[in-house]
Symmetry: D3
Subunit: 282 residues, 6 copies
Amino acid sequence: MSIVPAYASYQYFRVTSPAEHVVHVEINNPKRLNAFSQAVWLEYGRVFAQVSADPQFRVAVLSGVGDRAFTSGLDVKAAVSDSPLTTADGDEVRRAKLLRNHIEEFQTSISAVEKCEKPVIAVLHDVAIGLAIDIATCADIRICAANTRFAVKEVDIGLAADIGTLARLPKVVGSLSWVKDVCLTARDFSAAEALAQGFVSQVHDDKAKALAAALALASQLASKSPVAVQGTKELLNHSVNHTVADSLRYTQVWNSVALQGEDFATAIMSSMQKKKPTFSKL
Amino acid sequence: MSIVPAYASYQYFRVTSPAEHVVHVEINNPKRLNAFSQAVWLEYGRVFAQVSADPQFRVAVLSGVGDRAFTSGLDVKAAVSDSPLTTADGDEVRRAKLLRNHIEEFQTSISAVEKCEKPVIAVLHDVAIGLAIDIATCADIRICAANTRFAVKEVDIGLAADIGTLARLPKVVGSLSWVKDVCLTARDFSAAEALAQGFVSQVHDDKAKALAAALALASQLASKSPVAVQGTKELLNHSVNHTVADSLRYTQVWNSVALQGEDFATAIMSSMQKKKPTFSKL
Amino acid sequence: MSIVPAYASYQYFRVTSPAEHVVHVEINNPKRLNAFSQAVWLEYGRVFAQVSADPQFRVAVLSGVGDRAFTSGLDVKAAVSDSPLTTADGDEVRRAKLLRNHIEEFQTSISAVEKCEKPVIAVLHDVAIGLAIDIATCADIRICAANTRFAVKEVDIGLAADIGTLARLPKVVGSLSWVKDVCLTARDFSAAEALAQGFVSQVHDDKAKALAAALALASQLASKSPVAVQGTKELLNHSVNHTVADSLRYTQVWNSVALQGEDFATAIMSSMQKKKPTFSKL
Amino acid sequence: MSIVPAYASYQYFRVTSPAEHVVHVEINNPKRLNAFSQAVWLEYGRVFAQVSADPQFRVAVLSGVGDRAFTSGLDVKAAVSDSPLTTADGDEVRRAKLLRNHIEEFQTSISAVEKCEKPVIAVLHDVAIGLAIDIATCADIRICAANTRFAVKEVDIGLAADIGTLARLPKVVGSLSWVKDVCLTARDFSAAEALAQGFVSQVHDDKAKALAAALALASQLASKSPVAVQGTKELLNHSVNHTVADSLRYTQVWNSVALQGEDFATAIMSSMQKKKPTFSKL
Amino acid sequence: MSIVPAYASYQYFRVTSPAEHVVHVEINNPKRLNAFSQAVWLEYGRVFAQVSADPQFRVAVLSGVGDRAFTSGLDVKAAVSDSPLTTADGDEVRRAKLLRNHIEEFQTSISAVEKCEKPVIAVLHDVAIGLAIDIATCADIRICAANTRFAVKEVDIGLAADIGTLARLPKVVGSLSWVKDVCLTARDFSAAEALAQGFVSQVHDDKAKALAAALALASQLASKSPVAVQGTKELLNHSVNHTVADSLRYTQVWNSVALQGEDFATAIMSSMQKKKPTFSKL
Amino acid sequence: MSIVPAYASYQYFRVTSPAEHVVHVEINNPKRLNAFSQAVWLEYGRVFAQVSADPQFRVAVLSGVGDRAFTSGLDVKAAVSDSPLTTADGDEVRRAKLLRNHIEEFQTSISAVEKCEKPVIAVLHDVAIGLAIDIATCADIRICAANTRFAVKEVDIGLAADIGTLARLPKVVGSLSWVKDVCLTARDFSAAEALAQGFVSQVHDDKAKALAAALALASQLASKSPVAVQGTKELLNHSVNHTVADSLRYTQVWNSVALQGEDFATAIMSSMQKKKPTFSKL
């Protein structure tokens, strides 16, 4: 499939459009198990900022190139050389400032999927450890291959996960006992366990089938009102971080304009006439 | 079963008392699949405000009249004619104000079940789509018939659900991936799926059995200290919207009066004497 | 196994160290089914404050002495005589103040496990009702024996649970319908149900096996970087009570010092060299 | 001045329109120093709900009829006979429930001015004690006569102020030391002190001049874009209760529709042409 | 004046009762300008915990012994020797843990005045720098002598104030520009400036007059209903940290018991009969 | 004064360093009264991001070039042509999305001063209306010339201020009555009024003197420990948006590293030796 021209310049990401309004973003660094150096994560942030603003796309699918890994996470070797710890002069506080800003930049890049106004479906497969979980918790819907090997790996390299897993995982699944188990032990967990715990929504036989399912789901979402779909993502993310009362009020304000758009009328009309609706770009 | 006299004037709700201290509220608009027009939801809010204040009742069960639907949700046809969009003059901002206030009134009515000081057990059956989910997420315990067809249907009529589903569903079940799946796709989900995801607590063979189970559960709750039961509802709802520290403090203040009541003494005494306690109205 | 000398003075708790860096705290009041009077809970708070500050330990396991109960909860008879209700002069408000302060002291003692900087694994077995649930919701990981009989029992003695269950349970498991069911009905639930709902992470055949599993898990955690492990506990507990944005920022600040420690270098080096790392006390 | 017909049925409030788009609401119970019984506060809530929804008005001025009092606050004699304490059966908990609901109803009525979508200017004069402060803290701008005698009087009748003063006063003025002084001592404070502390914005020689100033200010506000004015009230009230980040986001959503209205274009055009703009009702 | 016997064992605090229900706590380390070492602050926390629970007292006044200083703040020499920095082994993270816990213990001691259920009036005089401001921001009402020399001094010893000044000062006075000025520059500010900014409520000619004014105010508060006074402190402190909506709800629950006490009836009766009321201890 | 080379490429800002560690940023668009078009605000955000990261600077002063205006605010003419309203196709919802993103970008640029890790002192003079207030509320300390003409002007162009004034002003000054007055009326207010309300900290005779005072203050801050100064800014900004409890905890974590740096030791040593300390860059 050909690269979408507007996304041709990315070095670490392969961006295609397998169906109308659907964008497929692939982490494209398979020789290094799709590991993330700073260059990779900065580009990752830019890809999804572009997708968010790009009216031709309504849904994104995220997966990894190759059959060895979604991503093995942080490229530790590159991380060591990129790190302010390696290069910084100064005392503990000055190193702390550099580290804080470094982590913030990294978090901001990875949060781009959460901030993306369109739904993002992550397809996990093969190795999906460490940063893979930070990435996956930002996605809206998680689908995986049966062979996926998950782990919140950071404890085993001597640190608490700091790119989002610990901030989001308790809000993404129900069992805090399980969350603490996998985060404290850094143990592997399987696709079946991920499904049972609600971390993923579907498990498929292999990567190809998982990806096919994700693309089918993406096409389905792409056929719906983008006003309704994007509003739903926004309001659900708001709800995760606010009280019921705050979210109800925010919803009133949000829908006070959303309901004025043409999508509502189009959808109701199509529904009554049993026709397939067509919606403008958003 | 005869209508409770104080509730005889409602047009769209059938209110009976199948057991001591138990009230059964039925949505009574079966010809229209128990759909909600503005008249229905305003009445719904009033019914549960009355139940909340009525000392003869300690628990409520909510279901739909008939075997076709708990509720098919918004009465779209009526909604279109009730809507400020249809009648409003003025520019985008003036329409927005009317819409905002319209949604607020609607939300407030549906939130009456959450605000009701007594537990409300929802019995879902047959069609339970759209507004049915907004309603169900306000209930305390959800029980359903095996044939229930659930859907967060709003995306398919071109809008983000705005009467509470998106504000409450992430707080009601554990898997955010599942929440986003069903809210973004508007797909049907079954009783079995609802049970597996923790959306409902029990599935029964048919509506009659689900209702019987709900009434048995209601009778059980009605036999307990209303001080303990209503306090438990209040403190759990507080916890959903506050930090642990805030909820612990609120609990101290709440129980500093609750523990002074006669129920505590009565319950302990009955427990020691293996007798069935009797509690005053609340 | 011999008592750890620094913990020899406790009357109601047996404190041993079954493995390096692992502390085992046992509720040691088996004649009274390990029930908690005020003397017991005050001591409980002190034990875990001491564990939190004690650099020789990295993980704690909590269980009950004997084969009859983890704990039957509040020692109701003692509670009645300890209670400000029994002894207080004065009007409703003066009694309320004493009750409020009494509950606060009790909550603070039980919260010591949550506040403990090291992970605490609770091993539930036999009777685990009432206060047992308040205690268990503070632990990080819950493991139980197949014969465990759980219940949020407080409604049956005429009160809303006030030592933490209602504040924490909705944050610990996914299904709010289930939480309200067990909290409102005070019914028993089994180990299997606790596992299915995500309240516990493992069920074992009997107490001995559950304890063995907990100790094995504890040993595994104790072998890891204490900086990573304790940071992970802290950041997950923060996340439960804050927005994603707040937790991401807090994580930056936390890790800006944690990453400077020797554990990160040690862990990475060991990982590269496939050696077992050794970490300093914390 | 004649009563506005749509508001003619109120017993305790005199509602006139002294200028275009301006409504003047007077507490009209001068024989009882404009004191509030339950009947008065319920009506008060209804008046301002009606003003909020009434497109003919853009600003409200609130004052008291007569030259003896803005309001002397709660009608204590009536309060004693209205109170659940007087009439309630039952134990401490049952009385507590009635009291809680009674206070909530009272708070909701008084909060109607805060919730009113149009700015409300309170004109304080003569006696302005107790409930007068609860009322005034809900208003947007406070103006007073030089003779006003203010007091947060509740401590002197044995209770903590519970209708809003304690919840709002720390958010309305800057000095917490002053807030605690006047709330704990229940002492009188003067117009000059109220001005120095920022509680009021203007002091005038007498009630007539204060009222004239308020009406002039109201007329000025009424001549401006109601979209801009009402949006400003909404966003400032949001800011008082939320973080900067939350308010910035809410502002984006709010103005994403507000900027589409005709007022923005009208105002800019008029500003460029140095003409007086005309805005549609809102 | 003689020491109150129950407080005779304190080494660094002189505790007397200059009037009925009034306790006067003096920092009693004048040779060291009332500076705080760890021993002093731990005792300080215990004194106010005792006052909070002691029914004989209803109001506290806090001042410094001698005419040289309220307090010169941290005893820097002692602090250096007490500090974990001096004694700790280990890497940056291990030192960080000790520092974190050390600061927490210090903060908790100083916060005892905020947590004290009775109002605390601070009398500032002479030197009142560094920790003096942390202490003063916890008090309810601040009164000072004209000669007081204030400063948020911490920046000048190379650190951000960490015992409460930065957390509380923006909530205690109105001008954030002023707060940042004095906190960033560490400059002195005078009693007159403190009054103009609302940091103190009264300035008196000298320490003796400031103290006399504080004791008179304390006696006035002590003559009022302790239920009303303590409830007012609690609800104002709640309001500083919560939204209006949360505080209104908390107020309902709080007063649902407070209104049942005898103070309300006593106060109203006395008010009607123009008699001085007498209230029971609290 | 010569431009700092690293900042030479900015078109709308003049960046000089009038004293060691002090940067002076001037809005340099005097022909248009320093008004802000989109190009200006995007550059503004970049300037302060660069200052934040630039270790040679410890304090920034912000003023406007020329003697006509600090800034007259939004360049309305440019704004109209930049606006998505002018260029956007599509219905209300599609325009709303573009507006929302446009406002967000604008807010993010202006918030750069708040986010800047170094203190920023704003020097207001001459015309300071509309966006000038949004900008000023982000600064840490505000100083002005006596001739400054302030206004929250947005209501007069038909909109609620949306770049930060409404989100921040209630947190920056004490009197909410005054805040609502100036925001709702859009009236001018003077330097004297700004000082009396706490909006500015100093008023000087003219712009030159105000600037001199700001530079002197900046030099003073620049001579202090940057660890202490930047930590103080961070913790005060945290406090504005969080509860006391949250800020105390955040402070512990922040200072657990800050206290380990060399500044603390350097500052204490210099203080004891009465020498001027020297601090490393940060």
